[in-house]
Symmetry: C2
């Protein structure tokens, strides 16, 4: 009897976590593991790229959690710069091209993990591929951007997009000494927040010297005679730019899966069951940025490309592929980011999410502080909370503040997971001491007010 | 028909929160409110006293959340420096002494709130009342200590007790330029942690230049000819001291309640129902440091003197006394404190607590970091987790680290409240970005390891 072979497509967080976990459960004498990665790196923190570009992280290698050599030393047959070009589900094999040699060949599998990640949304506009216009998804992107910044002819940077990548890149470019303009198609930055909370981010970014342009659709990029970018063009205006960073989100990279007839959801991501198996397929798993995940609050699938989920997916897939049992129950939609000293966090549903799934709700927004008001370093914090009418169930929390604001959202993330009501939350026994919190934690203040509003609404 | 009268005994967090909340629900034309306070202040943050003594908080008034005048302006009949000396339950009246005039009189009540707080444990030893020996429970204590520090003849301070007040006072005295010795009867500081975690605090305190003396029972205080303290004496040694701070805990101040025949628990605190009514009494409520509270994890009563609970109790009592409905379901035992840049947090049960209530459990201790390892300012963090055998239910978490360690305990506090298993916790959707957390939050790392250990134990 020949040894079983596990094939992994994609050598980043989800894929290599799956490979590593399967290897922990089954040794090289029991299971062969082959992983294909079209790039030259494995297991790196894409989330760390803005901090490398900004200079807070000194070098690229710091972002690599585990090198190809380390994976190989653990008995994982890793093929770098090798791109899978086809999945033959019926034949249980994948076709892969060695990008350097230019050769293609088939590799059969008993078990398959699809971890093809996401691809950045590239605006369909003239000049989007001009020199000086950069994405920031891969280590290669980061390296190219750093080189552009070093030799830029001026100090004007335009960031297209004001989601978390956009605001993090705004910070990075400020840290590099650039004048930064952020061009955003939405009405406020951070569309993962409600616009009233996004407005707080908007004001804070202006306070940091960032020029924030909202409601602006980019129509093109103007280049000079040398082919390099000169300006970002919108319907209303033109924004001079020596460098342009695109931070307008990503889509699941599922072209291979789609061609193989695997099931995709409304957001273009692979659909899996709770064990991260591709629906309808016993021996194919998928995880990371190429899948859709269940939103436990709305009950619907979402695409949430975050490294923390990709790592969990990999862990679950590797456990199952290695003969164990694990599940990924879903997400509640927690995200945290910062722009300079401004911390931005959210979990659960925004107002429009709640409406879309038919929920009626009450909202409250409160101002509090990160520490006891009298304690040095106490800073203001705004907490918005959504609770369902009648049941009082917590639906979502958004927080904007300074130090200590961001990770407070975890309180709400756990409460959402547990299905708590805001009334139940008012009694939560949270850590209190003057350097850490007011005597009523800001999340409790919001919960009290939300509970009162739910009661009044009846 | 005469107006109903609510009498409140104790003008600090629980008492005045209750009075204020009752006043919100019932105006001065509906309910008379009389509050007796034997001291000269109301509604102050006792938890802030170490930071005032240490100089981080500039003045006493910053610690006062609401002054007597503010309470009176809201229609609360506040009698300062008036000590209740007897509760006549059958006669529905209290006897109070005006401490300045020396007169006593009866005041009848329809509803009574007992918020008499706690009294510091004073060691029964020679010299405990000597000049230069200070408690730190009241604003008056803090003022006296500050005056002693200003005129101290030397720079040697001894803190007796290594609980959270002890370690906070050690920090305050360091900030004031004193050489600090902490004398502790336990085997490690912070007996609210398991000793293995207390040892981390021990080492960190030594790193801060604090001399830590464990397993040392104080037998007395040696004074000079001037009656001022010269040294703290233990069985084994003598520790020279120009000032001594007692931080050896508090007991419920329930002498009045006991004399009135009200029910007390094993820890000497008043016993209440979930609406904070004294058991067996319809119109008497009690809250704050003078009551015992239900520990939701062990199912037993505990004495947990913390301002955050006192405020919640007051809110619940005031709502009920004002004709509304609210409950305080209990605590999970969350506490957070710091000594200089060391953050110390705990929630739920320690090993000995779990054993005492008959639980079998697994423990894990993991090392992780506050942020992504490559992100500047990332600092080490140790997380200990206890989970019940077989069920895998989370029982407790202890965290020792630097910035970002303390409030992470809230994740566990909510999970405990919800009765989550450590296996469920492994899937928690916590906020992740490199400046805020590693891709696996330290609490998740501990949960994964605990879940594995529970499974292995079977």
């Amino acid at each position: 009897m020949s040894m079983e072979r596990l094939v992994v497509i994609g050598g980043d967080a989800a894929g290599m976590s799956a490979a590593s976990q399967a290897r922990r459960l089954k040794g090289p004498g029991e299971l062969e593991i082959v992983a294909f990665e079209r790039g030259g790196f494995t297991s790196y923190s894409a989330c760390g790229i803005p901090y490398w570009v900004g200079g807070a992280v000194p070098d690229r290698d710091a972002l690599i959690a585990r090198t190809p050599e380390e994976h190989r030393a653990r008995g994982i047959g890793l093929r770098l710069r090798t791109e899978v070009t086809r999945i033959d589900v019926a034949g249980r094999r994948v076709r892969a091209r060695d990008l350097d040699a230019g050769t293609e060949s088939w590799t059969s599998y008993d078990k398959l993990v699809i971890a093809t990640g996401a691809r950045p949304v590239r605006p369909e506009m003239p000049g989007a591929d001009a020199a000086g216009v950069h994405g920031v998804q891969t280590l290669g992107d980061g390296q190219e951007l750093i080189e552009t910044l070093a030799r830029a002819r001026g100090r004007r940077a335009v960031v297209v997009g004001a989601g978390y990548i956009g605001v993090e890149m705004a910070e990075a470019l400020i840290d590099r000494g650039f004048e930064v303009t952020v061009v955003n198609r939405g009405s406020e930055p951070m569309s993962t927040l409600d616009p009233d909370m996004g407005r707080l981010v908007h004001r804070a970014m202006e306070g940091l010297g960032i020029t924030m342009v909202n409601d602006a659709e980019v129509t093109g990029v103007r280049t000079g005679d040398d082919g390099r970018v000169r300006a970002v063009v919108t319907e209303a205006a033109e924004y001079p730019a020596d460098v342009v960073v695109l931070g307008i989100g990503v889509r699941p990279e599922t072209s291979l899966a789609e061609a193989a007839g695997l099931p995709l959801g409304a957001h273009g991501g692979l659909l899996t069951d709770l064990a991260m198996r591709v629906r309808g397929h016993t021996d194919i798993w998928a995880g990371g940025d190429c899948v859709e995940v269940l939103d436990l609050v709305s009950g619907q699938e979402r695409h949430v490309p975050l490294g923390t989920h990709a790592n969990k997916h990999g862990q679950v897939i590797g456990t199952n592929a290695g003969g164990g049992y694990a599940t990924f129950p879903g997400v509640v939609g927690t995200a945290v980011s910062k722009v300079c000293d401004l911390e931005i966090a959210r979990t659960g549903l925004r107002e429009k999410d709640a409406r879309r799934v038919g929920l009626r709700f009450e909202t409250v927004t409160i101002e509090s502080t990160s520490r006891a008001g009298y304690y040095p370093g106490s800073s203001p914090m705004t907490v918005k909370m959504l609770a369902e009418r009648r049941t009082g169930r917590l639906l979502g929390v958004q927080i904007v503040g300074r130090e200590g604001a961001g990770k407070r959202v975890d309180i709400a993330a756990v409460a959402l997971t547990a299905g708590m009501t805001v009334e139940q939350m008012t009694a939560l026994d949270l850590g209190y001491a003057p350097p850490f919190s007011p005597v009523w934690d800001p999340v409790l203040v919001a919960a009290r007010k939300a509970a009162a509003k739910v009661r009044e609404a009846g």
